[in-house]
């Protein structure tokens, strides 16, 4: 590169009022982010605690309802809804720790830092994966209900899928387990994920692009495809119940896009900077940090809103379903299973009743 000669030259050049000469040049200076940090110290704990309260109450209620009913989940969807509630509850449990850590530093030691970080990471990924599972379940329920559709899955397969999702989530939480550290900086201890220095920026950047693709585009694609097919079926059907079912589907997809899209976009922009090795100015860098902070709060809010969107909206759905069933389905009572074969071939019920997969079976 020939830096040696220029080095000597420049040492010789600045023998006079060096600092004057240097401060006139646009030399890279340390970027202070005190204002972003101040905002974050207020924003992050308030979002965390709100989502934690919502998440604990909502998901706790969902789980409690299920446990009180003492009945195994019947459809794959309800099994996955239960797992989703469990994942969100676990995530909500870690949030008060995050809020406390942001407010007054991490004071619980390295082992707790690793444990909480791993739990946070595993439950975040599990929630995401179960959302994709639910959309697939709902589509499959409709597809099976159609004449000539595939055979219905057994309860065992839904459990197998749940086990696989949790194993995958634990695998994804491995870096949090391995690399979370309770590091000190400027007098404050913080629990954070620090990757080994061996990983190059390019590897990190390429993988971050893949993360946006796999973490957002792929689940969105799966959800969009499944719900589009589901919506088409519902549109073909008649009656106000079907319209309401359609509205729920639209609400679910819209919520996913509104809550997740901004964070994914912010992450994508950040990744583009990382990949292009682009140097942003300090104000631009601060704006980017602010965007990531706010959008990540939205992404986190998903965990508090899931019970509302998936379980509670489903209750209305269930009432609709009962009306539908009474109208000519296979079971008149509040327990549709009683009227169906033990391991019901879903196609034995009329196709529109398959919207019951949108309901929360308690």
């Amino acid at each position: 590169m020939g830096t040696e000669p220029t080095e000597q030259v420049s040492w010789g050049l600045y023998s006079g009022d060096e600092e004057e000469a240097y401060s006139a040049e646009p030399l890279p200076e340390l970027c202070y982010k005190a204002d972003v940090q101040a905002f974050s110290r207020a924003f992050q704990p308030s979002v965390s605690l709100t989502v934690a309260a919502l998440g604990l109450a909502g998901n706790g209620l969902v789980l409690a309802t299920h446990l009180a009913a003492r009945r195994a989940a019947r459809s794959p969807t309800s099994a996955h809804l239960l797992q989703l509630a469990l994942a969100d509850l676990l995530l909500a449990l870690t949030l008060p720790f995050a809020a406390a850590g942001a407010l007054q530093g991490w004071s619980l030691g390295s082992a707790t830092c690793r444990a909480i970080s791993s739990l946070y990471s595993a439950s975040f990924h599990a929630g995401f994966l179960f959302l994709a599972c639910i959309s697939a379940d709902r589509y499959l329920a409709i597809a099976r209900a159609l004449p000539g559709g595939p055979r219905p899955s057994t309860r065992g397969r839904a459990h197998l899928v749940s086990v696989i999702v949790w194993l995958l989530s634990l695998l994804l939480a491995l870096p949090a387990l391995l690399f979370s550290r309770d590091g000190q900086r400027e007098g404050q201890r913080r629990c954070r994920l620090i990757f080994p220095e061996g990983l190059t920026q390019t590897v990190k950047g390429a993988s971050a692009v893949a993360q946006v693709v796999l973490g957002f585009a792929l689940p969105l694609g799966v959800m969009a495809a499944c719900y589009a097919l589901l919506g088409r079926t519902l549109l073909a059907a008649r009656g106000p119940e079907r319209r309401r079912a359609l509205r729920v589907v639209v609400a679910l997809v819209a919520a996913f896009v509104v809550l997740q899209l901004p964070y994914s976009l912010a992450l994508l922009l950040d990744t583009a900077d990382l990949l292009a090795a682009r140097e942003r100015s300090c104000p631009a860098s601060k704006r980017k940090d602010l965007a990531l902070l706010v959008t990540s709060g939205l992404a986190l809010a998903r965990c508090g809103l899931n019970p509302v969107l998936y379980a509670f909206l489903g209750l209305r759905f269930r009432q609709d379903l009962r009306r539908l069933l009474r109208g000519g389905g296979c079971s008149p009572g509040p327990h549709p299973r009683g009227g169906c074969p033990r391991r019901p071939r879903l196609s034995s019920c009329s196709a529109p009743t398959e919207t019951h997969s949108l309901s929360w079976d308690n």
């Binding site: 830096t3 080095e7 420049s10 040492w11 600045y14 060096e18 600092e19 240097y22 401060s23 030399l27 890279p28 200076e29 340390l30 970027c31 982010k33 940090q37 974050s40 110290r41 992050q44 995050a98 850590g101 942001a102 946070y120 990471s121 975040f124 990924h125 994804l172 870096p175 590091g183 900086r185 629990c191 954070r192 994920l193 620090i194 990757f195 220095e197 590897v203 990190k204 390429a206 993988s207 971050a208 692009v209 893949a210 993360q211 796999l214 973490g215 992450l267 990382l274 140097e279 100015s281 300090c282 860098s285 601060k286 940090d289 602010l290 990531l292 902070l293 990540s296 709060g297 992404a299």
Partner: protein, 98 residues
């Protein structure tokens, strides 16, 4: 299939869920470092801001006589020379004061 799986694992590993610590990404950091050497006699203090401090660009921060905080690459010989000189003078002044 396997490379895709490996890539997706790596992907989800390297930048996972929103940071637990919250302000993780808003650390005071150097966004870039100077490739042109800074004269050593304008520097009065130094400190490291490395990847383990939560920074993307590892840097040595030199505090100049006028209070500027300049970012330098930690792996350059000229940076090492300044650091060596600063530690020497710091040790000397410590010996004087004690």
């Amino acid at each position: 299939m396997i490379p895709l799986l490996a890539l997706s694992l790596l992907a989800l590993w390297t930048s996972p869920a929103p940071a637990l610590g919250g302000a993780n990404d808003a650390e005071d950091c150097c966004l870039s470092v100077t490739q042109r050497p800074i004269p050593g006699n304008i520097v009065r203090a130094f400190r490291y801001l490395l990847i383990k401090d939560g920074c993307r660009v590892p840097a040595v921060v030199f505090t100049t006589m006028r209070g500027y905080q300049l970012c330098a690459p930690p792996d350059q010989p000229w940076v090492d020379r300044i650091i060596r000189r600063l530690t020497k003078t710091l040790a000397k002044s410590k010996r004087h004061s004690s």
